[in-house]
Amino acid sequence: MSRLRGGGPLFHWGLVLVAALLLVAVLAPLLSPYEPTEQTDPAVSQYRPPGTVLAAVHLAHGDWRLADRVERTPEGLRLHRLGRVEELAAAEVRNLTPDGVADSRRFLLGSDKFGRDLLSRMIHGTRVSLGVALGSVLLALTLGVAVGSAAALGGPVIDGLLMRMVDALLAFPSLFLLIVLAAFFRPSTLVIVIVLATGSWMGISRMIRAEILSLRSREFVLAARAMGQHPFAILVRHLLPNAFTPALIQATLLVGQLILVESTLSFLGLGIQPPTPSWGNMIAEGREALARAWWIATFPGVAIAVTVIAFNFLGDGLRDALDPRQRRGSGRDERAAEAEAPAA
């Protein structure tokens, strides 16, 4: 791993951020203060700005009520709810203390229309957005490696057919087609993953094909062939391991791209469906209340940007460290990557 030291500070930032995000995604249920769909007393808790703390009153029959402020009175409890005052007898409250109630609800990043905690939804959204993007990239990588290897080793007819297919798919107006696909097929999470992967494996397959073609005549591959190794063994043991580095770099950059595409689809209402939180559909909910509650649309966008930046730093850094041929400055490679990525 010592080669990775060449990645520079941005690479290290990217690595740390990606690791942190993965940790958040894995530990989401432990980290999030509340359930992402939990609605308690929405009339009082809706559209609360970041940092709001509400007193939580546990009623005798099991429900919770929220209040801006509570006071102990000789008879029991006085609740201040949105300017209205309500009185409760001591026997009606389970979590009474000498100066109020024992529980509270804290909306660190504010709450949404249904009084759900934005922070909790964002933490669970990390799981959804990262999961969808990583799943699609894994699928795209598999497809890309399979098609790329088949094209490089399958002879001129198969090569020609497969590469024309890649050309055709690259000519599709990508976002357009994703929208058509997502709108016409009821979008489950699995469908979204498949749709995203279908639109993004082409760049990887081109790259794998080019790498294998250039590796094929190298001495170590010729030696393996001379020793009578099976062509499939040569592919798996010699060609793919050597072609894998550039594919890995492109896959890393693709994660960022697909997070953008997924969030766009979800924002348009065609991706991850509510109430499952994804950063994109949270921003869509925030759009409806932009004037009233700026925080709902703002914070998930910051999460998307930070995540995409982290993966871009990581990908750029990996390229600088592992692939000296493609050091920054050569416009061609960046342009090719730009042309092949499904822009959001």
């Binding site: 107006p173 976002l175 766009t264 924002f267 759009r287 342009r335």
Partner: protein
């Protein structure tokens, strides 16, 4: 050269037919059809009638052939089911706003990316270079719809100076020509700025990369050794070679702009092709979906074709 262009053109046409065929098949493979949407209001008999009027009761290959022949032979895209008017009329109404927005956004994009990209390519490794590299990366890592919402939040709500939706104000008809132009520009400002700034992030990096590659070549060193001014070395000797890749970037970035403007049009309620297409998809208005897909595909193919032509003009080896 002509042979090369003809071959590329033929390939583009075949691709176009493939894209349309695939869209047609996908659309009809998807569960449900347009008459389902009104199921609550329609009787079974009415739905059957509607299916007959739309031609949905016909076998799929027949529907496909009918559509293809009417488009290819008569240039007739049919009638929009949701708007009850010819698709051609809907397209005609939506095209000018989209072109206006696209050109304005392109202007903003290159007004930022070109001078700044050249400036940082002249001083690689400088503080300016690192700063611009990080900022441009941050900009193109944002989802464009979020940038749009933040712009609306800032410039039409917190500090209400610009309108956030549509292309014209309510009293547009009563305005003088000068007021009309100002009104249009005010409505254009937010979407064009958001799209242009967002797109400039990636373009700036590409301009920098292309120029930097050229600037390390021997003939540039020769030009400097001859004692030419740095300005002349960069803008005349360097740019002449870097122009081809930059023009290619331009052609390719048109595609990114197409995607971005679709989202921007939906958010800013801009009455263009993107919004037309999006609403048609939601309403399952098949004729409009097919027509807008066709236009988008033509646009993407034309952009790629343009990039190929520029590449061929600049690099004789490609033409063989």
């Amino acid at each position: 050269m002509l042979g090369f262009l003809l071959r590329r053109l033929a390939a583009s046409l075949i691709l176009l037919v493939l894209v349309l065929t695939a869209t047609f098949i996908l659309m009809h493979l998807a569960p449900g059809d347009p008459t389902n949407r009104e199921a609550s209001r329609l009787t079974a008999e009415q739905r059957e009638n509607l299916r007959r009027i739309y031609g949905l009761d016909r076998p799929l290959p027949e529907q496909y052939l009918r559509w293809m022949t009417s488009v290819a032979l008569r240039g007739d895209f049919g009638i929009s089911w949701s708007q009850q008017r010819p698709v051609a009329d809907a397209l005609k109404a939506a095209l000018p706003p989209t072109l206006l927005l696209a050109f304005a956004a392109l202007f903003v994009e290159y007004a930022i990316a070109l001078p700044l990209g050249v400036a940082v390519a002249r001083r690689p490794g400088s503080a300016l270079d690192h700063g611009v590299r990080v900022v441009s990366l941050i900009i193109f890592s944002q989802p464009v719809f979020w940038l749009a919402l933040m712009a609306i939040l800032l410039f039409s709500q917190v500090w209400p100076v610009l309108p956030s939706s549509l292309m014209r104000s309510l009293g547009y008809e009563q305005m003088s020509p000068g007021e009309r132009l100002l009104d249009l520009l005010r409505h254009l400002a937010l979407p064009a700025l958001v799209l242009g700034v967002w797109a400039s992030g990636a373009t700036l990096r590409l301009v920098r990369g292309s120029l930097l590659e050229v600037m390390s070549r021997d003939y540039i060193r020769t030009a400097r050794a001859k004692g030419l001014s740095e300005r002349r070395v960069v803008w005349v000797h360097g740019m002449r070679t870097a122009l081809a890749p930059i023009l290619q970037i331009f052609a390719v970035s048109l595609v990114g702009l197409l995607n971005g403007s679709l989202v921007a049009e939906v958010i800013f309620s801009w009455p263009g092709m993107g919004r037309l297409a999006f609403e048609a998809v939601l309403a399952r208005d098949y004729p409009v979906v097919l027509a807008t897909t066709a236009l988008a595909a033509v646009f993407v193919l034309a952009a790629n074709f343009l990039a190929d032509v520029i590449h061929a003009l600049a690099d004789p080896r490609v033409r063989e």
